[in-house]
């Protein structure tokens, strides 16, 4: 039982095609750590335009897997960054980061379960 992601909704949106689900999760897996690193780096450098881009990309990547609580918060992070409230955006981002990592592990688990079922 996943805490955040809704497996059924993801499958529904992808017409129950487990190949697509797996490929999408794989693409997310490939880019996830890179995006987190970019956010960290931009915060360290104080490069807010890069921070804004990275957060936006993170939101875009995550949105593929439907709506859930973490998605709502990441959207909030993106909205704050878009409005130029970088400090607030950064604070919310680091607050939600542990949950974001849970979502990531849930997705990987989902992919593993699909593979096992196949």
């Amino acid at each position: 039982m996943s805490q955040f992601i809704d497996r059924k909704a993801i499958l529904n949106a992808m017409m129950d095609d487990t190949d697509i689900v797996q490929a999408t999760i794989e693409a997310f897996e490939n880019s996830f750590q890179g995006l987190l690193d970019k956010v960290d780096q931009s915060v360290t450098d104080g490069n807010w335009s890069e921070f804004k881009r990275s957060v936006h990309a993170l939101k875009g990547a995550l949105s593929v897997f439907g709506d859930h609580d973490v998605m709502v918060k990441i959207r909030w992070v993106d909205a704050e960054a878009t409005q130029g409230n970088f400090a607030k955006s950064r604070d919310i981002y680091y607050e939600v980061l542990p949950q974001l990592k849970i979502v990531y592990s849930e997705l990987l688990e989902f992919a593993r379960d699909i593979q096992a079922a196949a």
Binding site: M15, I20, A23, A27, A61, D67
Partner: protein
Amino acid sequence: MPDSMLNLIQWEYLLFYFISLGSIALFFWKKTSSNLSLLKILFRTSYYFIGSVVIFGGAKYLGGEEGPFLLLVVGSLLLFSLMWKALMEKNLSLSALKREKDVRRENVILSNALGGEFRTQLNGVVGAANLLQVTSLSAEQMQYISMIKTCSDSLQNLVDEVLAQTQGPFKPTSEGESEKKTQMTQEIPKTGKSYSKGDFQKEFVSKGSLAETPVGMGAPQERKLKILIADDVEVNLVVMRKYLEKLGFECDSAVNGKEVVNMVNKKQYDLLLLDCQMPEMDGFAATTEILRSFPEPTARPFIIAVTAHGNEGDKQRSKTVGMDGFITKPFSIQLLKETLQNVCQIKNVVYKAKPKGSEAA
């Protein structure tokens, strides 16, 4: 009745044949129109046959030579009245069936209208929640907004289920088919928005210049749509490409607006699916460039903005710069399929998808 005429006809034989034919007809009629077993039908037919013979014999015995003739006349009248009654009943049942169909059809129209009303209100709630989300709010307020959205999604599903139940047993005619279609999603050029069942929100608006131009004349061309997708997020590109492959289409891809403009200059595309927010050149700037280079609107590709969920500004801007429509991320395969079907119609191309794997198309 003159005696000579009575002598010419062997009433006994005539009535015997009449009764036999009637029995056979009764047998076949019962066999085709009732669920009775063969044995029961045989029994009832024999009962009718024997009964008729007995009545005929009795009439002859009591009425003399003219008895069977009178019986034939009375019998014929009775038979005709029975036939008339049966016909009327059948006619009535047909009328009832037609009335039932009409009621169902009215239900479909009514439920579509109600569904539209529900959805309009729901969209208002979701839109308000989306607007609130992009303002500065406390974590607690965000939780409440999340609750509003969850409830709205549930309500949306409920509306869909109610509509499905209302329209479930109705087998649509060609007219009904289009009615049913509007329930799920509406065609790009004719409508504004479309919503469908599921947790993934999807929308489409088309008010661009191309959508208002006439559809290509003549027989539709048998070729595949040439599609270009653009997004700076790899996951989104993978999803779009996989969805298109599932529907039997191929596509090229780009990661920013500059690449899109370059590719459109080199190759004639039918459809562009452009992410709005991309580095270097975004989807809006790319659209402006493309529209400038195509003075003839029908020759240019159909451009669809792929906007982020809840970004009302992007939706509005996509219309302003002249994009032909938008879909909101994350979208489902079904929405993409409907979009492609409509683009095929606009571009006068046969929707000829060879689905990969299952029965997607």
